[in-house]
């Protein structure tokens, strides 16, 4: 199974969700700003990389985890990807989860300052602070995804 976390730019909320999913960030405590900023892909993608699918690793069940930034209309863009999968593949093997709505305003503002306006020295710590404020929502998202995936994996294996 392939699991996709999507958001605006694949720089903040989807990266954090994927990191929690893969155990690179804790799910039982708040990470520090430093832990968040030291993720190799946190607050890194450029405008030209919007839409590119980034492979992050495999989870404990062997599922591949990806992130993708789908711009300002991510739900519509996600629908296009899902319809392509309906045409050419098995929709059960591809799961999409919106991480953007988990991020509170401070995280979004920090992300925009850093990625859109190039104010990294202000934007990146603000985005990380926003992630900390939104962390419980991101952990809840990942836990619900893992539960869904666990059930689906069990069903698929018979």
């Amino acid at each position: 199974m392939r699991i996709f976390y999507y958001c605006y730019g694949s720089a903040h909320s989807s990266v954090i969700a994927a990191a929690i999913h893969l155990g690179m960030l804790p799910s039982r405590r708040l990470p520090t700003i430093s832990e968040i900023c030291s993720l190799p892909d946190f607050d890194r993608t450029s405008e030209q990389q919007l839409g590119m699918i980034h492979y992050k690793g495999r989870d404990e069940w062997g599922n591949r985890v990806y992130t993708v930034g789908l711009g300002s209309k991510p739900v519509v863009a996600c629908r296009t990807l899902q319809s392509m999968i309906h045409l050419l593949g098995d929709p059960e093997d591809f799961r999409f989860y919106n991480a953007l709505h988990c991020l509170k305003l401070s995280g979004k503002v920090g992300g925009a300052l850093s990625r859109r306006y190039g104010l990294r020295c202000i934007g990146r710590p603000l985005a990380a602070w926003g992630v900390r404020r939104s962390y419980s929502l991101l952990v809840a998202l990942v836990e619900s995804v893992k539960e869904e995936v666990r059930v689906a994996s069990r069903d698929l294996s018979g």
């Binding site: 699918i53 711009g71 319809s83 050419l88």
Partner: protein
């Protein structure tokens, strides 16, 4: 499978017309607005499902699809290019036609029929001979 996808940055009206003109290109006369609207309904296209890839038929050896993307088609095109190898399909076999013209106010069959003469002319100009 080789495919051609028309993308327009609206609810899909311009992509629908472009796909219709493509699959009906063998005809001597231009399809009328009513014909295109009827054809569009037969594809299953729903205005409320912006983003869905609707099958339009065959033209020039390719399966034709159309899709309204509301905003920034290049982002979506990149995603689809990344996704295709995961589906065992080569992106080289697929052609994406990003339309410059868009009609964000066309969100129903009635509006499509009303705007068709102007949009079809502009789309024909954009697509060339």
């Amino acid at each position: 499978m080789k495919g051609r996808v028309y993308l327009s940055e609206d609810s899909g009206g311009c992509a629908l017309i472009a796909a219709a003109l493509d699959v009906m290109s063998d005809r001597k006369e231009m399809p009328t607005a009513q014909e295109v609207a009827l054809w569009g309904m037969q594809t299953g296209m729903q205005w409320s499902r912006t983003g869905w890839l609707w099958p339009a038929g065959e033209a020039r050896g390719r399966s034709v699809f159309f899709c309204g993307v509301e905003s920034r088609a290049p982002i979506l095109e990149r995603s689809l290019h990344c996704l295709m190898p995961m589906l065992g399909v080569s992106p080289l076999h697929w052609e994406f036609v990003r339309l410059r013209i868009k009609a964000p106010r066309v969100r129903s069959w009635r509006e499509l029929v009303r705007e068709y003469p102007r949009l079809s002319r502009l789309i024909r100009e954009e697509m060339g001979p």
